[in-house]
Symmetry: D2
Subunit: 346 residues, 4 copies
Amino acid sequence: MTRVAIVGASGYTGVELARILCNHPNIELTAVTSRQYAGMPLAEVFPNLRSKVSLVCENLTTSEICDRADVVFAAVPHKTAMDLVPQLLGAGKKVIDLSADFRLRDVAVYEDWYQAHSSAEFLAEAVYGLPELYRDAIGGARLVANPGCYPTSIILGLAPLLKANAIDVHTIIADSKSGTSGAGRGAAVGTLFCEVTDGFRPYKVGGTHRHIPEIEQELSVLAGEALQISFTPHLLPISRGILSTVYATLRPGFDAAALQALYHSHYDNEQFVRVLPSGSLPATQYVRGSNFCDIAFSVDSRTGRIVITSAIDNIVKGAAGQAVQNMNIVCGFPEATGLEGAPFFP
Amino acid sequence: MTRVAIVGASGYTGVELARILCNHPNIELTAVTSRQYAGMPLAEVFPNLRSKVSLVCENLTTSEICDRADVVFAAVPHKTAMDLVPQLLGAGKKVIDLSADFRLRDVAVYEDWYQAHSSAEFLAEAVYGLPELYRDAIGGARLVANPGCYPTSIILGLAPLLKANAIDVHTIIADSKSGTSGAGRGAAVGTLFCEVTDGFRPYKVGGTHRHIPEIEQELSVLAGEALQISFTPHLLPISRGILSTVYATLRPGFDAAALQALYHSHYDNEQFVRVLPSGSLPATQYVRGSNFCDIAFSVDSRTGRIVITSAIDNIVKGAAGQAVQNMNIVCGFPEATGLEGAPFFP
Amino acid sequence: MTRVAIVGASGYTGVELARILCNHPNIELTAVTSRQYAGMPLAEVFPNLRSKVSLVCENLTTSEICDRADVVFAAVPHKTAMDLVPQLLGAGKKVIDLSADFRLRDVAVYEDWYQAHSSAEFLAEAVYGLPELYRDAIGGARLVANPGCYPTSIILGLAPLLKANAIDVHTIIADSKSGTSGAGRGAAVGTLFCEVTDGFRPYKVGGTHRHIPEIEQELSVLAGEALQISFTPHLLPISRGILSTVYATLRPGFDAAALQALYHSHYDNEQFVRVLPSGSLPATQYVRGSNFCDIAFSVDSRTGRIVITSAIDNIVKGAAGQAVQNMNIVCGFPEATGLEGAPFFP
Amino acid sequence: MTRVAIVGASGYTGVELARILCNHPNIELTAVTSRQYAGMPLAEVFPNLRSKVSLVCENLTTSEICDRADVVFAAVPHKTAMDLVPQLLGAGKKVIDLSADFRLRDVAVYEDWYQAHSSAEFLAEAVYGLPELYRDAIGGARLVANPGCYPTSIILGLAPLLKANAIDVHTIIADSKSGTSGAGRGAAVGTLFCEVTDGFRPYKVGGTHRHIPEIEQELSVLAGEALQISFTPHLLPISRGILSTVYATLRPGFDAAALQALYHSHYDNEQFVRVLPSGSLPATQYVRGSNFCDIAFSVDSRTGRIVITSAIDNIVKGAAGQAVQNMNIVCGFPEATGLEGAPFFP
């Protein structure tokens, strides 16, 4: 049994990691850390876990974590992660880092959008944990930088088009909508029930969201040239789910049938990407609680644009589920282990 | 007292018209028609109206409607409206038509997107009922074509930019999200609570929604040249509200301060348009139940695009409220009569 | 114009008071206080109020409040109110207090459920602000203790039965469900969107909620004898609304027709109580945004119990709306002024 | 591999059965029937099932069903079930019937609350499928009558008390609240999103809901004497979940510690019942998507009543999950097979 720790277990990513891992047949969850809830059973912090997880939250030192675990999920905020992760690696651990600290390869870009980076020497080694793009590298990695939720939905939606040079890369606009769990579990007026329910709002409009450099990095690699996108996030009155609507001008020579074939050839061997049949559209409620990414596209012949719509559960494929998928690859387990559950609807 | 009838009172637009009109000091609501609920008090169909509206739904002939009312709100589906409206006009009535039948000036465009038009001779006379653009014409009209909900949010958001020639008109993309009341009150699996709640989905992707020709007609007038847009509607798990996020490439020479001044000069005399201060963003929950349209814009200097966000309550400013605003103008009442209520939040 | 101040305007009761008062024809809102938001326009704290309320939140002394206002709504927490209110009264102001501090006539009961009372000498003078029971006394009061939200729904539902001696007073069980706005606007994990949505939970089960002594006080007066009730509150995933389901054993001699007559005779002159016809049931969505209390009852002949169901909007009839109703009575305005709006649905 | 069919797969119970069964290691799902959707893949009716269930909905004869399956889940409406089930039994099949047709042992009671029963001869044989009460009998049954959702939550909550003679059986009042999936997937105005969201309502008040005889039957067995209850169902604006709040007068001699011990001794060997520690309360969001029933109680010493609160997911433990639990017992599989998933939160 591989021993696994969750560092920073008291957020929504933490509880979802615990939910998935508590039934994983190849691992044993051996430690869950939380400064705030130290001493409290995780199943009291998150009563859904009663009788499924018996671990108590602890405020462990890094060395104690290393004594307990072979693989560590770092579910701590960025900046905290850049200090923690090198120590874990130094102790010979495999790390799945869910923060943004090791996603960007260019330290200057990181420092432009975040703050000074104290562990930039690990950026080259970290593998961007999108298995559909980097499966082989993940398999040999000791540090996996688990992608952001918005980037996962957008990159998977655009990858086949960019690889095939099917769109004008300077016309990409991503309009994304996320459930409120993405805002975290911190007490804040802005995410109170009464502020969010029965409402809808954009935020960080105008090219200011920190997921932009991450998206652009990966899209540029896929396109083979540097590109910039417009990206607008919005807050949905739902717990889980991201739906991204992505616009781009189609290059000549790609009709709907060819594009459908392109998507299928790209994803038909992927267990967690479902290319929808023509005429179907994704919806967050059809991926709820699962690791699936559902993708469809529509060609707007009036304007010459293609519209890609993709849906994920932001705390599964957008965070905890993808992290477990990465762990499975790193550890050599079948990639879908623990992630076989169908989405629940309604 | 002006006598007013609502034809087709049993939908969500009907109940909202009744809610607004029951406290309107200049009119008397004299008839509410519904084939389905004929004989039932409207306040039993919609129990929120108990003790506020005592009328019974009736299945009236057009001539009976004409006997009862001076002004008629036609809240029937398109195609039904094109048969009804000419009869009402023929009897000398003023008509606010909430269907799509008289919104498009070009019958060929109408017939391309809808079906054959049996009353095309009235298209030239009908005034598009967006008071912020056509106030004077509405004042003298006998037939007002009340705008669609999505068009209202998009046209008001773009009007100042188009008039000032501030954007490249071939780059407009409108990504809109609507509450479920927009889908009407017909019994259908797709709008059941369990299908919609805790979810989010696009529909009619790829340039197929019937509001497109209406939006393009008005934007083209504003721009002074024919233009086409990309438009994607989505279904929000809320009752009321539309938020449109609109993208366009900014022409050189327009900085944020100039654009803010432009919006203010355009709308500061408008009672129902609130241009938000820089740094603020609209949200559907802040216009809920009111006739306001809240508008903000952000300049994305990285990509050279402007992002306009606008929010309305789809059954008030997007339907019933705007219809009453039009009635007020047609009848010479102060324009905000009956529409003074502040949005309710939470 | 009567000058009115809201002390403690930054909570959900405060914004609702401002929403109602901004269209009230007989008063002028002259001050809104908030320590937390001092210096910020109330319409920035609550953007729904943009263009409707121009006041800036201030951290005023009591004497400054007294300089500005003739009537004061005290929307501060209990304990804070007991210090503030006597000073306002001493300056000759009329006070509508929305806290619990002056609702209980017996100081010992207050101190048993809350804490020591520093202004107990005002308890005898304060009038319990349920107009349907105490209209005359309210008319002459300088201190009105605005009722709690749960008590309003329960007391109005039971009053006719208790006055008519129709139920066994020792069998009353009130099972109440409240929208989340009742929990206030403080940042707290328990009321975050993700904790509340798509869920339902009881709280303070077993006779521990502080509204119990208030309910029992008023029911005992109505019954003419001391009584105790079982009361269980629950948290609904909605913003606004309380629905109480109240059970009691019916005394012999009261059939459904007699009871219906009893309710009608009791409430038919009340503008804000709607006794539903037999066969209809209340729902929170039919009173949303209004000052109505909808009441129905059902006789369960199998068990000999009567089941009363009553619905209010907890921040209107359960707080701000009832407070304005009380102000209208105190000031001699028509009782429904500012409260004429029909509930909005959907 | 045991071959399994779902008859009536196009409702919410059907999709949930398919979701659970598609990962069940001991069975093969071989047929899903639906008249309405015959010819359509089940994964098009319910897109969450894409790539998990490849079966096409068929309109099969009973004999075709019998050719395909060893065990049949009958998820058809009552009355339909009473015709179907005897034929399946006659062909030697094991049947888990999710309708009400075989739950009541006394045909007169059935006919009083439903309609004439055409297969009353099977009532004596059918086993009421609440494993916590009838595990042994279920193990030997060929016909399991899967309990109703409300009854499951109420009976499990009261069973320890009734067996221990801890409450006055004539004082039981059950106030239950259910998610909207309980109302089924039929197109109806009353369950449209806009009618349900942001609202709450009771229905079938006054002792008229058809789950009453089922609840009373089982509670009477547990109590050892005939009893009647008051039961009021309510509709929650959530998809999944039932929470029942049950009141009864406590007999002398039972303090909280003794009652806590009683519940634990009753349920500590049950995998799907979680007795909460003193001070904790159930919530539907903590059992979401799982087969758990969470139970707590509070003693109200002021009134001498005990208040039991219990929560289930109405389409798992209240329908499909319990049905699979029963199948597991009938087939000799480990009882929790396919039902190990932790509840998902948020």
